[in-house]
Amino acid sequence: MRNDRPENGSRREEPACYIWITHIKFNYDESSLSNDAFNIRIDQLHDVPVPEWDQSKFRPEESPAAYAIKETAGHTVYIQCRFEMDPASAAATATVKATGGGILGAIDPITVNFVNGVSHDASHPGNQEYVQIPLRHRKFSAITREDISWEWLYKCPHSHVWHPMDIRTHHRIYVVLEQPPLPWSQTDAQRYPWTSALDYAIVSANTRGLSDAREAAARVVQHVNGEPLQYDIWGGRPFYYAGGFGGGTFMIAAWLAGFINGPIVNCYDCASAVTTFSNVLGCHLTYQFHGPFGYLDPVYPIGRGLCNNPFYGLRAAPYNVPLVGVDDAGRTSFGNHAYSKQAGNNYDACMRGAPGCATALAYYILGLLILILSLGAAATLAHLLFMRAAGFLVDLSQPDYESITLDTSTPAEALRDGGAPVPEALSI
């Protein structure tokens, strides 16, 4: 039964008309992302139809939309809504607004014209049954995923009383730094960013609230490195990455489905995961193949203990253990390696460095000083230093990265090195 309780203590009265919302489009223009949401999918096999909301949708995850901070900055963001009115007349004018809205904000009162009981708006080139409504109170400042709801209200023609539509629409809103680059796309519909990837990158990797691409990528590295996975000590083969002629494919669906290809991974798997999940947030990582690579300094391969002999799984003694003598040329080495780069710096979730107490302490002290002296303004830099203190290989220059991971201290070790990172195409 319709609730006709008026707002602001105005007297209760039967409305002269009924107006209700039937559809909402967030991504009404697939070719643009400055004034509306950008193109997304649920996952590999499921698209997000537009309009994203209709009366059959009750849960926020059934009505997802995603926005890019960079592209929408300085622009008015709109949604398009379709309303119906009863009784229908040839022409009528009413007013609609919505409270709530969370990050998208409340919707200010807007005049809606009705033709034969259906809303009508000729101000835009799309379906004119949809009214283009500005989101004047939206707040896009950092990566987030927020479930929002709007409570819709209306005023009948010639009335000053707001009546609730008795409908609260629920939506799941994603905000990322900018248009997700490769392997994602805004023109290839199969590679529109997946909400399941956004869930992983925002919620699981705990990037909510971040506005810096370096820190966002670092959090993804931290999360991937902490997954219940173990480095392939038998041969260093990939289980979630398939190499091809001129590039590789990240088996993202198997990753997101709970690691259905098993718990063993190599660096290609980790690099493709870091690249893919960082980039869905609007970071700009590229997958790098580095061959030859060489002998390792003592590091922590993902899910393993301290190690400078990465393929000890099937080796005979004394090389059947992860850590052998420093500079022992009989130990195993990386024929090649893969990691990610952003703005020239390296991100690697396949292993963690072993910085040692003095270095770790120096990172912590430096980070604390930066936090205190900048009064929190340089928090990103401090956070990155704290992560490096814990051994995470994040935002490191190539020389710094190699000094942590590569052992070239003897001529034999230096001989095994010699490669350089080369970007490789990555698809999903």
Binding site: C267, F289, F293, G313, G418, G419
Partner: protein, 276 residues
């Protein structure tokens, strides 16, 4: 220049360059691979090989289709002994060389430094036996007709699987399998008898169901799509029906469907939709 020389010269190698170097080092062009003797599919999941009784099948993963071969990994283990191996099967419907190409591609994409060697003058397995490491307990690979096999040891206990024994059993099975001169019309290959959209013309953003009918005796089938100017999707509300959603750009959308059956044979079909 082999890979060791590349290391010595401090040259950065891409995977494509590594593949070429590996082929050269292994004298790939001289491999005596058989022509027009096609084994009509292979999977360790069918048949009754002894190793499938000793080891428990855990999982499989189909590799992306990037050529005319189908590649699939099968992981087997023995929980009590912590003995395990990963078996890669590559079946080409085009040529033995194509399957061998796929096998070497898998070898290039590994991190462990190795100098593989190939025995094609007196191979114990297949027409070519490839050893990635000096220790044959770690891995072994071979090419028999249009099928390439690679077995990698993933044991974490003391009991090692007999990789050579497993490989020999697979090779015997392949040798005993009847061969055909072409797989084009072979009954083992799945047949896509219908692949067409319900509507051949769509507006941007529009949707049409895809009518798909496949004849195959080796289920389950894997459906793999490549589409342009739109996306392929599965409608769970309609019993898993596939549909095409047009993108925003007008033009002729080409759709390619590849189906792969359990014995790693595939069929491909195409159709198109006008987006106007």
């Amino acid at each position: 220049m082999n890979r060791t020389e590349a290391f010595k010269q401090g040259k950065a190698l891409t995977p494509a360059e590594s593949l070429q170097l590996m082929k050269k080092a292994l004298n790939f062009e001289e491999w005596p691979l058989r022509r027009q003797q096609f084994v009509p599919g292979f999977s360790p999941r069918t048949g009754s090989a002894l190793f499938t009784k000793e080891f428990t099948f855990q999982r499989e993963r189909l590799l992306p289709i990037i050529s005319s071969w189908v590649g699939r990994n099968y992981f087997y283990d023995q929980v009590e002994s912590r003995s395990a191996f990963d078996l890669t099967v590559i079946v080409s419907q085009q040529s033995a060389r194509d399957a061998a190409d796929g096998l070497l591609l898998q070898m290039v994409y590994t991190q462990m430094h190795s100098e593989p060697r190939a025995n094609f003058t007196n191979p114990p397995l297949g027409e070519v036996t490839i050893y990635r490491h000096p220790d044959t307990k770690q891995s072994i690979a071979f090419v028999r007709n249009n099928v390439a096999i690679s077995i990698e040891n993933y044991t974490s206990g003391r009991k090692q699987p007999d990789l050579e024994g497993i490989a020999a059993e697979i090779d015997r099975g392949l040798q005993e399998s009847p061969t055909v001169s072409t797989l084009a019309d072979d009954a083992h290959v799945p047949r896509i008898t219908r692949f067409e959209p319900r509507s051949t013309v769509l507006p941007p953003g529009g949707r049409t169901d895809l009518e798909i009918e496949v004849k195959d005796d080796y289920p389950p089938l894997q459906y793999l799509f490549r589409v342009e100017l739109g996306s392929y999707n599965l409608d769970p509300a309609q019993g898993g029906r596939w549909y095409f959603r047009a993108g925003p750009v007008k033009g002729k959308a080409e759709l390619t469907l590849t189906v792969v059956n359990q014995i790693n044979l595939m069929a491909e079909s195409r159709c198109s939709i006008a987006i106007e």
